[in-house]
């Protein structure tokens, strides 16, 4: 057992290292060939020639590309992701600040997305072709095809500006800002841990809209996939067998069919979660949410390479981590995978 576990661990570590290396190499090359001069972000448009040259040398842009990459890798391995030219901060501290904002949003969104998406998908599959199926399809399709930007603004207009049910853009009202010392960076967690329930509820009221919006999109995706997996399963012989054996319909659907459909669903859920963690840029913009998505996008526009690479690294690492996690769950759900 330990030997197999060790082998698995080593293979995970290798996958992680290789994926991240590849990701960094590609991002690095793309970043260097885009026709944007990173020095401008650092010294501004009107800098005189000598200031410009000094900044360029400081960034190491005079060196050949491969040398720049090696220096970057060396720094990353020693835990130094460099400094962002757009914020002036070390990239690591920027990420420590922006990633939790995205993580909080994404985590609540995926929980709601799963909680609604799976039952809806199951319902659509069970009543395939009948009105619940059509209704659910329309709802999903809407979530799929409406621009998130527009939906976000409308939601703000209705629920924040007109009805006054929820908090507005940003993570907290001004009055509640800077009360809780950040620890995890997840405001709800930090506020609850500090016993600052006013802050907690305020954070929740700010989370409601963006979470609902993102949850809606992942619900649409998860629901649609659940439906198709369930239809597959429900048509198989073991389902007929189970019914013949007299298993209750609930047991057939929830235990037998969903139990099997759950295996491929894990990948779907992991993917949607990873997608949310990448940062929903448009949602973050509309809701003035200081998350990772807008951080990377802003950095990209200014060719702030240290920030782009650092952000990419985090996104890449979360992808790999989720992959590993879903593989573990996979193994736990599917005896065949366990055997291999």
């Amino acid at each position: 057992m330990p030997a197999r576990f060790l082998r698995r661990l080593i293979s995970f570590a290798l996958t992680l290292a290789l994926t991240l290396f590849g990701l960094l190499a590609v991002t690095f090359v793309i970043a260097r060939v885009v026709p944007i001069d990173p020095v401008i972000a650092l010294v501004g448009d009107k800098a005189p020639a000598d200031v410009y040259a000094a900044a360029r040398a400081h960034l190491g842009l005079d060196l050949p590309l491969w040398q720049q990459f090696i220096i970057y890798l060396r720094d990353v391995l020693s835990g130094n992701l460099g400094s962002s030219s757009t914020t002036g901060n070390p990239v690591l501290s920027d990420i420590a600040h922006t990633f939790p904002a995205t993580l909080e949003l994404a985590t609540y969104a995926i929980i709601v997305g799963i909680g609604l998406g799976i039952p809806l998908g199951v319902a659509a599959a069970v009543w395939q072709g009948r009105w619940p199926d059509h209704l659910i399809r329309v709802v999903s399709l809407f979530g799929y095809s409406v621009p998130v930007f527009w939906l976000g603004l409308v939601a703000l207009l209705v629920f924040y500006a007109r009805l006054d049910w929820v908090g507005g853009p940003g993570r907290l009202d001004i009055a509640y800002d800077y009360i809780v010392e950040p620890w995890s960076g997840l405001l709800t967690v930090d506020a609850a841990a500090a016993g600052e329930w006013d802050v907690f509820w305020n954070a929740v009221s700010h989370l409601v809209l963006p979470v609902a919006l993102l949850a809606y999109f992942s619900m649409a995706y998860i629901g649609r996939m659940t439906r198709s997996f369930m239809i597959d399963e429900l048509g198989k012989e073991y389902i007929t067998t189970a019914r013949v054996k007299g298993a209750s319909e609930a047991r057939v659907i929830w235990r037998h069919a969903l139990g099997n459909a759950a295996v491929p669903l894990i990948t779907v859920v992991a993917l949607s979660y990873a997608y949310l963690l990448e940062g929903a840029v448009l949602t973050e913009t509309v809701f003035a949410w200081p998350g990772l998505g807008s951080y990377i996008t802003q950095a990209l526009f200014d060719a702030d390479m240290a920030a782009v690479l650092g952000g990419t690294l985090v996104v890449g690492a979360s992808f790999v981590a989720l992959n590993i996690f879903s593989e573990l769950v996979y193994a736990w759900l599917d005896p065949r995978a366990r055997m291999k």
Binding site: D37, A41, A47, A49, A54, W197, D198, S294
Partner: protein, 527 residues
Amino acid sequence: MKKLLLAALLGASLAGLGAPAVAATPKDSLVVAKNIDDMISLDPAEVYEFTGGEITTNLYDGLVRYDADDTTKLVGGLAESWSADPAGRSITFKLRKGVTFASGNPVTADDVVWSYARVVTLNKPPAFIFTQLGWKPDTVATMVTKVGEDSVKISYDGDYSPDFVLNCLAARVGMVVDMKTAMAHEKDGDLGNGWLNRNSAGTGPFVLKLWKANESVVMEANPHYRGKAPAMKRVIYRHVPEPSTQRLMLEKGDVDIARDLGPDQIAGLAGNDKIKVETYPQSAVYFLSLNQKSEKLQNPAVWEAMRWLIDYQGMVGSFLKGGFEVHQAFWPKGFAGSLDDTPYKLDVDKAKKILADAGIDHLDVTMDMINSAPFPDIAQSIQSTFAKAGIKVSLMPGTGSQVITRYRAREHELMLLYWGPDYMDANSNAMAFAFNADNSDDHYASSTTWRNAWIDKDLSEKTVAALKEPDREKRLAMYKELQLAVQQHSPIINMFQNTAQVALASDVKGYVQGVTSDLVFYRNVEK
């Protein structure tokens, strides 16, 4: 009880009962919604961006500065008085007595000398405002000197008008930093630069409490401020990138001022008696320039024809409404010495005739432009009016840094861009629009002239002459002459000057926004 109430409120909200929450900004705090993603630095020796600039203005004072009550007037800041000696190329300042920094340290002549030398030594982007006075890292110690406990003498190298020198000193680089505090936080010989990017050490009405990049900036009232204590204990910037969101927050009362509203949002606020909209003329000039590296753009007939092919009034009357006015000279209206005539208008027939006389019947050009408002709209208008005279324009949109990258390399043909002065002296823009010392590729300059590979010896000499003219009236007349020459005969077509429309909660009083970002003042704000 409060917690319970909040929980109940939230419960009610979620249940859809819609109990109205009390959304208002604290009485002693001013909350400003603004896109602050341009911020890089808050050190006076380094800051060069709009948002960072207006914040430092509220944290520091210079020897001289523009008055919050009348922003065109240069008044004493930390200096009580000064006397200029044009023949001796020097100005001597007498410091105001009893002024202290936010730390409690008294302001001394040493702080002034150190602060100025610091700008030159650090040599960050805006340092040229000082180095053009002849101050170099090894000479500044002899050119900026303490001549008594409360006197500082500055000398400059060149026959500059003292007016020009004072305007340079009033720029952000001229802000005086608390030497003791800054040096206590020095790291690796950075003269406190790293620390000052996140903290302040000035004499202004506010001190910097916090700056979270792309999130918020918090300033608090400076208890040691030499003037009347600000009514606002706190000024808070919230980073809200999306204008529609800014409008919603203002309407909800979650912010007091929305800074980046477009014409659509402004129009939507009409009739809301809880919000007022104020218009402030700004100092950026928007122009179209023709790169002289491109042979087909070298013919002056093309320059002239294009001047008559832009629908200046049409644009200002429609999609640019409220945000821009027509201005066809390089020095903005509202500044001493500006040329305010607008002789050009859309006249397709005239342009066609000019082109026909020059034997040009067809022209294919590209136009580089930033892909965010207002540039796409302006570009499309130009594209359609140019087409009427047989000039086919292909648009090349890009992000700001993308466009600037090509511009610096002089790879563009037409460029649609803007320019803001670095200090409030006509020389700032004359250097950019009329002066070019050397047009060669390796003599890089950030001026509009060099970047469009245009050089006019005569205008360059006149720019230098204007800089030296001691008589104020004569000097301003020389700048008008320069503007006229560029307006009539150059590959640079100045079109517009911007105005800022700011929406404020109607109870906010005393907000001051001048023509540049150096002139945004919060100290008189009440609500």
